[in-house]
């Protein structure tokens, strides 16, 4: 077999986007991936209410054939990992072991990576946030457009557009809002002036979700089965792109490959993998390597490749709190047929109107994650809790609040030897917020709570799901103009190498609160473009 031009490690958001750029440039690409796939029974192409009333085997995807979806996480953290998505996290404990007392990340070795469970939010970063993160605003603006054209996004050019769509101009109309979001939106219209003075702006969340047919994929049909299925491929997931790439003769996808390390030798890159089925090491070669294994795992691979055990690398993660809120005006309503489970509104807190260091709350209504999950949250017997929650559930909105993050001495990871681990090592993580950070988070969340009360959605309590729960990780191999070890050039090339690039969020030197996925898609495309320039 001829030597491939590129190896791309990982089939998640950044791997898929980088690979697409390389293939479009006429290069040959080998994608190495563990690529766990789902085995749950197929979900019928029906809406949630019809399925509930008709399908005898619905338990297979709602709770899992062995009940594996019952003892899951609470509604704010990881509840989106339903049985059809459990392959997203399977085997990660065994193959990508973590050791930490204060940080619980979610990792994925699934086909599509963490993108399998992505909430589809496509926020852009402002120019000042991009600069702070080590990214080039002009290049990123063009890259955002490219990504939007590739994956198809929907949004609204409303007064929050500078926080949401930014420079993106090619998008479809936002999906219809459900009654919970319509009620909040209506309240906001009446109280906008006061809320804006306090720094708040409410707007439609741009989503990687089609409201019009696009490139062979179908528009969303409001089945409200978003956590279980993706009929018509209306939601973009990384595997949608990888599936398309696999039709190209210059793209080879190799599954069951856990990338361990790399080395540059004789003008090419050798990548050593562990075959997870045959349980042997395998070497793959290419002219260049692009790591897109996520900030945690790309760092793991780099540390292992340099035998840099116990070397500390920085770690960024958005602090995250979720706050269930009640809308009394919607208690005791019947189920909603025309509905979607994705966040439809975002509330931004930008006190100095600088579009920098903004905190953001995503708002979600609740229906398709089933009643039993919220019944469990009530300190009541299940019969009475079911009666009460059934009445309240139509007025339930979950507010997920994210805050920006900066590096500090108490946020780092390192690779530690461990003979018991499959790979012989474990990633040790330490993450603590200092008092000033905690105080600022609390202050901002108090403001969000007051704002939601004004919008007639009354917060019940703040729930801290723990460090790592945001599933936004970055900054482990930060961008640097000086050629420091374990850092990336502005083009994404790993310093100390000629042909190794990192296309995920490892390079970000600051992590804005707005979800990073759309930005890392754009960055992955740009990294591939940079790698091509030096061919």
């Amino acid at each position: 077999m001829a030597l491939a031009d590129y190896i791309v490690v990982g089939s998640g958001c950044s791997g898929a986007m980088a690979a697409q750029t390389l293939i479009e440039a006429g290069k040959s690409v080998v994608m190495l991936d563990v690529g766990n796939e789902g085995t749950t029974a197929e979900v019928p192409d029906k809406d949630f209410l019809s399925i509930r009333r008709q399908e005898k085997d619905q338990y297979r995807y709602f709770i899992g054939k062995d009940g594996e979806g019952i003892a899951g996480e609470s509604i704010g953290k990881g509840a989106q990992v339903t049985p059809p998505r459990m392959h997203m996290v399977s085997h990660s404990d065994e193959l990508s072991p973590i050791r930490s007392e204060n940080f619980s990340p979610v990792q994925s070795l699934g086909y599509g990576g963490l993108g399998i469970g992505w909430g589809l939010q496509c926020w852009t970063y402002s120019d000042s946030e991009l600069k702070e993160a080590g990214l080039n605003p002009q290049k990123m603006q063009a890259a955002y457009q490219t990504v939007a054209e590739r994956i198809g996004i929907s949004g609204t050019n409303d007064e929050a557009a500078h926080y949401t769509l930014g420079p993106v101009t090619n998008y479809q109309p936002s999906p219809d809002m459900d009654r919970n979001h319509q009620a909040i939106s209506k309240q906001y219209e009446g109280k906008k002036a006061g809320l804006k003075k306090k720094g708040f702006t409410l707007g439609r969340t741009p989503l990687a979700l089609l409201t019009e047919d696009f490139k062979g994929r179908k528009k969303y049909r409001y089945h409200d089965m978003d956590y279980y299925a993706n009929p018509g491929l209306s939601a973009w997931r990384p595997w949608v792109t990888v599936n398309e790439l696999r039709r190209n003769p210059h793209f080879i996808y190799i599954a069951n490959m856990l990338t361990l390390s790399f080395k540059e030798i004789n003008g090419m890159v050798e990548v050593t993998c562990f075959d997870t089925v045959k349980k042997v090491e395998v070497v793959h070669k290419a002219r260049k390597l692009i790591l897109a294994a996520s900030a945690l795992n790309s760092a793991r691979i780099v540390l292992r490749s340099r035998a840099a055990y116990d070397t500390k690398l920085p770690l960024l993660c958005n602090p995250y709190t979720y706050i269930p809120c009640l809308q009394p005006s919607l208690f005791g309503k019947g189920p909603e047929a025309h509905k979607l489970g994705y966040a439809q509104l975002s509330l931004f807190l930008d006190e100095d109107h600088s579009n920098f260091d903004v905190s953001v709350a995503s708002l979600y209504s609740y229906q398709s994650l089933m009643l039993f999950r919220i019944v469990q949250q009530a300190p009541l017997n299940f019969v009475d809790a079911k009666s009460i929650m059934r009445y309240l559930s139509t007025g339930l909105v979950i507010m997920g609040v994210h805050h920006p993050d900066r590096s500090s001495a108490k946020k780092y990871l390192s690779l530690t030897r461990d003979k018991a681990a499959v790979t012989g090592d474990v990633l040790t993580l330490e993450y603590s917020l200092n008092q000033k950070e905690k105080a600022e988070i609390k202050r901002r969340e108090n403001k969000f709570v007051k704002a939601m009360r004004q919008l007639r959605a009354y917060p019940l309590k703040r729930i801290d799901p723990g460090n790592g729960a945001s599933i936004h990780y970055a900054g482990t191999l930060p961008f640097s103009s000086s050629k420091k070890d374990f850092s990336l050039s502005p083009a994404g090339r790993l310093h100390g190498t000629r042909s190794v690039y990192v296309a995920d969020s490892s390079g970000f030197t600051y992590l804005p609160a707005r979800g990073l996925t759309f930005t890392l898609l754009a960055n992955a495309h740009l990294t591939a473009v940079e790698a091509l320039k030096h061919d």
Binding site: R52, F62, F331, F372, L380, N381, F382, Y391
Partner: protein, 133 residues
């Protein structure tokens, strides 16, 4: 063991639904509990045995465990049955939201009050059962 689990399914299902649950849901409960293979302590076993011998007190046991903080094995099993029942099409309308008149809020307040009383009594009952020599 399978027979014991079938009895639990019947008791918990009847408690949650106010009628005998379907054979399919009972079988699914048995399968899930067997598949979950969670270790059960001696105290939990005593509580579970008590619950099965006194099915009319399930509501109080459930209420008492609800305020004790942690998810006991007995409560987890009732929770499993709840999730199983919610996934049966014949019971869907007992779980899906329903249009209610404005005064229904008073019924909900009554349910909340009743639940608090049951929780107090249940808490005492649970303590007695697990502490009994």
């Amino acid at each position: 063991m399978s027979k014991d689990l079938s009895i639990q399914a019947l008791i918990f299902g009847r408690y949650l639904l106010k009628k005998v649950p379907s054979k399919k849901s009972q079988d699914l409960y048995v399968h899930i509990i067997q598949a979950s293979d969670v270790a059960i302590t001696a105290k939990e076993l005593r509580l579970l045995s008590f619950t099965v011998r006194h099915p009319r007190l399930v509501g109080f046991i459930d209420s008492g465990l609800a305020i004790s903080g942690s998810m006991s094995e007995v409560r987890r099993r009732i929770y499993v049955m709840l999730a199983v029942l919610e996934c049966q099409p014949e019971y869907a309308d007992k779980f899906l939201a329903k249009d209610q008149p404005w005064w229904y809020v008073f019924y909900i307040l009554y349910v909340g009050l009743r639940s608090a009383i049951k929780a107090t009594l249940g808490f005492i009952l649970v303590k007695m059962v697990v502490s009994w020599p």
